[in-house]
């Protein structure tokens, strides 16, 4: 039993053919999760009994099907049969605690599954636990969790990125082959880059947000982590698609992502936004990503110059719109219907205030207040309305750029992983980690981060591809072609 996973298609095939039991695979993942949690703090909850029970059920159903067939047929089992998966703790799984990295949800156990969870379970996956994250997905380092930071498996004195730090670390350390996270301003792509794994944020409306605890409803999407592009494409194929529980999902057919995966990128036009490769970008990251451009040239892609003139305003737009939406979405945490309620409050409004003061951490409070401020009377026009107009400009920038290219390449993060504690006292410096990723959420376009190197200090670097709406197949093809050409095989110090 390998402690790391080649790819989930191999794992699934071996389980479905009876070559290996789901139980053995899941037991292996559980041992790794438990064994590494003191070091990484990637998991807030590991569901040993539930995962093993489910693995046993899968093994039983495979045995039954084999017995009833004349000869062992091609068993049609789900694409994720027996595959262990980790879920960010802001996605609802029935019966498992969902904390969103916060104290304010107390001991909350959702009475329902998120749609993406129904779909991964329907495909046979085994959820081994819920991963640590920045509180309510607000952060770029996983240092805003009420339950302690996650450590980067490449260097445990450093952050894994955020907000989906736990999911990124779990895949990087080889505990699980794939994990779900959420991406509102880069919270899947940036930790993927800092942890040396693949991370995808799909087009807005590709996945259902039903059961994803809302942070900013016009920006949030469930995203996927994996050790390679093929595995990420496999999971997207399982979770994508229209959901009647989420009116913002689009009625766009889900392609056969894996079947369409080739390495042929000849003639693909890749946009290079030169202006984004200047000031503020770490020199090692710049060199790494420029090397990727050369690789694509060698593979026959055409590199074209593009401009995203309003990209420098993206952080400002994001921290107005996202905080405004968050101030509305987090109003529901008031101690009335679920979660934590402050004691010693004998009057309703005092109960609300004390619950929220005791339950929320400082970053969440900061963002709620910012959002409240920009929406308040007298300031709405100056901030929120203005931000929405600049958001429209950013969307236009992408439309214009995609008229002359099929995908745009950028770094994912401006630096490799930074030290724990390095940026916690400077919120604005922390926000600037999202400089390459927030544009995709504002415009609704898909983005994928793929590992492309390791810095001299031994820290992974990733590059990002952004594409037009619904261009996930092209992003997968480009990412896959790069992987096959360059074989990123470096492993983190801490791994299963």
């Amino acid at each position: 039993m390998p402690s790391t996973f080649d790819n989930i298609a191999t794992v699934q095939a071996r389980i479905v053919s009876g070559d290996v039991t789901a139980r053995a695979v899941v037991e292996s993942a559980l041992e790794a999760a438990e064994g590494l949690n003191d070091t990484l703090n990637a998991f807030l909850q590991i569901d040993r009994s539930g995962a093993l029970q489910r693995a046993n059920e899968i093994d039983e159903s495979i045995k039954r099907l084999v017995k009833t067939a004349a000869a062992a047929p091609a068993l049609t089992h789900g694409a994720l049969t027996g595959v262990p998966i980790a879920i960010k703790d802001n996605i609802c799984v029935r019966g498992l605690q969902t904390s969103c990295g916060s104290h304010i949800l107390g001991d909350y156990h959702p009475p329902y599954n998120a749609t993406v969870i129904e779909r991964v379970l329907g495909a046979g996956a085994v959820i081994i636990g819920k991963t640590n994250c920045d509180e309510f997905a607000m952060g770029s380092s996983n240092e805003n969790s009420a339950f302690g930071p996650v450590k980067n498996p490449w260097d445990t004195s450093r952050v894994p990125g955020g907000s989906s730090g736990g999911s990124a670390a779990a895949v990087a350390a080889g505990i699980v082959p794939v994990a779900l996270g959420s991406d509102t301003g880069g919270s899947v792509r940036q930790p993927a880059s800092l942890c040396g794994v693949v991370g995808l944020k799909p087009t807005y409306g590709r996945n259902s947000r039903y059961g994803l605890v809302a942070f900013a409803s016009s920006l949030d999407q469930v995203g996927v982590f994996g050790g390679n592009v093929r595995d990420v494409a496999t999971v997207l194929g399982v979770i994508a698609g229209r959901d009647e529980h989420d009116a913002t999902t689009a009625d766009v057919p889900v392609p056969q992502y894996v079947a369409q995966l080739t390495t042929d990128v000849k003639g693909t036009r890749i946009g290079f936004p030169r202006a984004l490769f200047g000031e503020g970008l770490d020199a090692e990251v710049r060199t790494s990503v420029e090397d990727v451009v050369e690789t694509y040239r060698e593979l026959g892609a055409e590199i074209v110059d593009v401009e995203l003139p309003h990209a420098s305003y993206a952080i400002a737009v994001y921290y107005i719109i996202a905080t405004a939406e968050a101030s509305s979405n987090l109003a529901r945490y008031d101690g009335v219907r679920y979660g934590f309620r402050a004691e010693e409050a004998h009057e309703l409004r005092a109960m609300y205030k004390r619950t929220r003061d005791e339950g929320f951490g400082p970053e969440v409070k900061r963002r709620i207040m910012l959002g409240t401020y920009v929406l308040s009377a007298g300031y709405y026009e100056a901030y929120y309305h203005k931000a929405q107009q600049v958001r429209a400009r950013i969307k236009e920038d992408f439309s214009r750029a995609f008229a002359s290219c099929d995908a745009i390449i950028t770094p994912t993060a401006p630096t490799p992983a930074f030290l724990i504690g390095e940026k916690v006292d400077d919120p604005l410096a922390m926000y600037l980690n999202d400089i390459y990723t927030v544009t995709a959420n504002l415009a609704g376009v898909p983005g994928i981060s793929v590992p492309c190197g390791v810095s001299p200090a031994g820290l992974p670097v990733g590059f990002q591809l952004l594409g037009p709406y619904w261009s996930e197949p092209a992003l997968f093809r480009l990412g896959h072609a790069y992987e096959q050409a360059r074989h990123f095989t470096a492993r983190s110090k801490i791994h299963a």
């Binding site: 921290y319 679920y338 009057e347 958001r391």
Partner: protein, 98 residues
Amino acid sequence: MPITEADIEKIAQLAHLEITREQRLIFAPQMAEIVSYVEQLNEVDTSNVEPATGGLTPEGERTESSREDATAPSLGQRVALEEAPDPASGHFRVPKVL
């Protein structure tokens, strides 16, 4: 428009947050810095620009998302109260409004 401590107090009221004096002293300069940063948007000419409301793609806009006005099973009272801090007689009980 630099954010003052008085602004923070008012915002905290609106957001039902109880912010202590110590917290106010930390938050005020941080929020002032952030607000000052976002004010660079004033550099952008947005005359006659339709604001982008929401995140929908054109395909998302075209997707029919209404349904028949028919009842369907939902959580139900028992399940809905399972996580309540203080359920009572099928209700969410809360401290009184004074």
